[in-house]
Subunit: 206 residues, 2 copies
């Protein structure tokens, strides 16, 4: 599968950390959730597409950006999902999401735990000001460094997990509660997670 990539700016806190900020500044295809366009303007960065229900957009901005605005009014999906769906429609299959955390706590949780539903159709990761969330559908290795803080989230609690090269190893274990896989640590320049069952979400601190 040839990968066509984009960066999505969601409507949480605008990135401060240099890693997501650089990704935003250097993106060749930047898809902006409509509620985030003011922040993007303030930062002097250009969007290639603006996607959303346009509720939060002034008429001035609607006129200014009419050529790149894509209106989706579906109330069953949140703003981030609308942007992801626009990418899928445009055959973009490698997405980096920034600005999806901070501000409203329930939006943040929603955005993070939506990641596994996106990963069935595309490669996706989310970069915050503190680290990277990666939804994972199958066993794999992760690049890392000694002492990197790592958390494993098992949203459906049924997944049977075995880890290698983490400080607190799991061996054919389920994580019944979302907090149980947090605060682990990498023991080297890579670690591995093998599992059977529904997708996991892995968080690695920068």
């Amino acid at each position: 599968m040839r990968l066509k990539s984009a960066v999505i700016l969601a409507n949480g806190s605008f990135p401060v950390h240099e890693i997501p900020l650089n990704i935003l500044k250097t993106s060749e295809c930047l898809v902006c959730c409509d509620g985030a366009i003011n922040k993007l303007e303030t930062a002097g960065i250009k969007a290639h597409a603006i996607v959303g229900d346009l509720d939060s957009l002034s008429n001035d901005l609607k006129r200014k950006y009419q050529d790149i605005i894509h209106h989706f009014s579906n109330q069953d999906t949140n703003d981030l999902t609308k942007a992801v769906n626009w990418c899928l429609m445009n055959k973009i299959n490698d997405i980096t999401i920034v600005g999806a955390t901070g501000e409203r706590d329930d939006h943040m949780i929603g955005n993070i735990f939506l990641l596994p539903s996106y990963t069935k159709k595309m490669k996706v990761k989310m970069l915050t000001d503190y680290g990277i969330f990666t939804p994972v559908m199958r066993s794999r290795n992760f690049d890392s460094y000694i002492g990197q803080q790592v958390s494993i989230f098992s949203p459906q609690a049924e997944t049977i997990i075995t880890t290698a090269n983490l400080r607190y190893e799991l061996t054919n274990q389920k994580l019944d509660m979302l907090w149980q896989g947090t605060l682990n640590e990498s023991m080297g320049d890579s670690f591995r997670i093998d599992f059977e069952g529904p997708s996991l979400i892995v968080y690695q601190e920068y």
Copy 2:
């Protein structure tokens, strides 16, 4: 049960919103996770107890606060849980947690989804800069206002939920995914959630 209350300051972002900030300033018993003591000093607020593994505390601070420091070295619990356990040991059974969100994303998720485990032994709520998380063990009414943004999290996905007076009502429904109960809205000055099964977490925006 007579309630004896305390406020716990966790080691996330120091509160900015006036609601958690006022609670912090006016608390008669303020329990501070050890990593947050510098922020509390900067704000000129006094802690009544400092709880943690003391890893992050300088020797100067250890000396300064020796009379109110309580050392817990258990690696199986995070800082917030250590503070909650100290409260339980001191027969405190009504806890308001502030400063538990912001900063490291995995800490934030851990702290929020630990709430149901605390609520078996005490009354507990968490106030962020945006709203209130309340773990709920049984069906109840919630005070609200028209248009209040409400999210319902069902961490174990098995709970059968019926709501009353929300914009998008649930009727004997399970929430299979954590994001499915987000972005609801109150239709009046109260709403009700009836459920059977494991605890829920309800989020109400200020």
